[in-house]
Amino acid sequence: MNWSALEALISGVNKYSTVFGRVWLSMVFVFRVMVFVVAAQRVWGDENKDFVCNTAQPGCINVCYDSIFPISHIRLWALQLIFVTCPSLMVVGHVKYREKKDMQYGASHKGAHLYANPGKKRGGLWWTYLVSLVFKAGFDAGFLYLLYHIYDGYDMPRLSKCSLAPCPNTVDCYISRPTEKKIFTLFMVVSSALCILMCICEMIYLISKRIQKLIKRKTEAERRLFAESHEMTPLAAPRSEFRSKTSLRVDPTASVQNLSNIKEEDGPPPKK
């Protein structure tokens, strides 16, 4: 199991992701896994060999190294990358489960389909996707905090003082390549923070899209309910928008013969 196998596994998730999810995936694999593999691992390669303490006491260097580096940055990042990419497998699993259910349904109901599109994020799959996002952001944040807690910040000091047994009194110990390590630590921390931000953006996007859909469905339902409950009864014929003025109304019974019988109107009708 190596990084390319993990990448092949995770790339399958790309089909069911949103735009943010795809950008997140590229960011993780290009900026984090790739930089980790080709650059960061080399920087930490000689950390034990080139860790030097100002003492001839045997065993002191081992003990001091162990107390200063309980777990190497490289191992923490490898674990972080594995944990952060795995929640996507939840989504792949759920889609495969849906497809299996669909196939079984089709077999028993003569070709009918249970899901129009098993990959569309509706119902249970939407919740699985949201939960996977929460886990991704959670793991990333958790590991960032862990790194901060173990190493008292993201700084890498050039010199650390160590006074554990068997070291005599206090011994100066020097870390190898502290500046390069600090640069790569900051790089990995910043890319983790950007990935967390992308996860949060994606969550907001998913939730707002869902709320939009729900509101639209609600207004559609309300409109339909209104139309159904208020039945159209036969009313008077709709009035023409060009209302005829009474002064210009023509009496159909009037004719030249009985003109004198018609009373004259009292001026223009009052305006409504």
Binding site: A39, R42, V43, T179
Partner: protein, 221 residues
């Protein structure tokens, strides 16, 4: 995820590049990535173990090494290559988005595979995406070359550096391993980087000229 995986990603996006873009990709992978992996890494492999200082003081070598090599050349070049390849992924993402949109909107009867095989002409939004990717590439290349120049005061590797950082006593002479070979490779990578920058500028000029002439022709029609 390593160089071969990045290569597959970039080659996919290459279909929509101009000929200069294709040349750029070959220069990038043959003269830069391959040289980095095959040669440069073995030259810099023993950089810390063979960094020797004329002192018995424990810790002095570590501190002096750290002062003169804040970031190793190899790491700077790896980061440079990763950052320079990233804008092409932007173009690839845009092409994927276009394919997806066209499949939904217009060509519902065509399969996504035939859509993927077609070559989009570089016009409209794709032109802008491509031009932006070229600008970013230039910025990253220039930025990293400048960073290397500033950090190491030029592209030459000195044979001797003098260090007076604590805990080194007074002034200590420190000797870098393989300085000439490192200088040769630094100059080689800087030259390859400049060639890539020239190719990118030529490609940008070509794109702008093409857009201007086609716009002018369209105007005249």
């Amino acid at each position: 995820m390593s160089w071969p995986a990045l290569y597959t990603q970039l080659v996919g996006a290459n279909r929509h590049s101009t000929s200069l873009g294709k040349i750029w990709l070959s220069v990038l992978f043959i003269f830069r990535v391959m040289v980095l992996v095959v040669a440069a890494e073995s030259v810099w492999g023993d950089e810390q173990s063979d960094f020797t200082c004329n002192t018995l003081q424990p810790g002095c070598e570590n501190v002096c090494y750290d002062q003169f090599f804040p970031v190793s050349h190899i790491r700077l070049w790896c980061l440079q290559l990763v950052f320079v390849s990233t804008p092409t992924l932007l173009v690839a993402m845009y092409v994927a988005y276009r394919n997806h949109r066209d499949k939904r909107r217009l060509l519902q009867e065509e399969e996504l595979e035939t859509l993927k095989k077609r070559r989009l002409p570089i016009a409209g939004a794709l032109w802008w995406t491509y031009a932006c990717s070229l600008v970013f590439r230039l910025l990253f290349e220039g930025g990293f070359m400048y960073a290397l120049y500033v950090v190491y005061d030029g592209f030459q590797m000195p044979r001797l550096v003098q260090c007076d950082q604590w805990p080194c006593p007074n002034l200590v002479d420190c000797f870098i391993s393989r300085p000439t070979e490192k200088t040769i490779f630094t100059v080689f990578m800087a030259t390859a980087s400049s060639i890539c920058m020239v190719l990118n500028m030529a490609e940008l000029a070509y794109l702008v000229a093409k857009a201007v002439t086609s716009g002018w022709r369209g105007w005249n029609q």
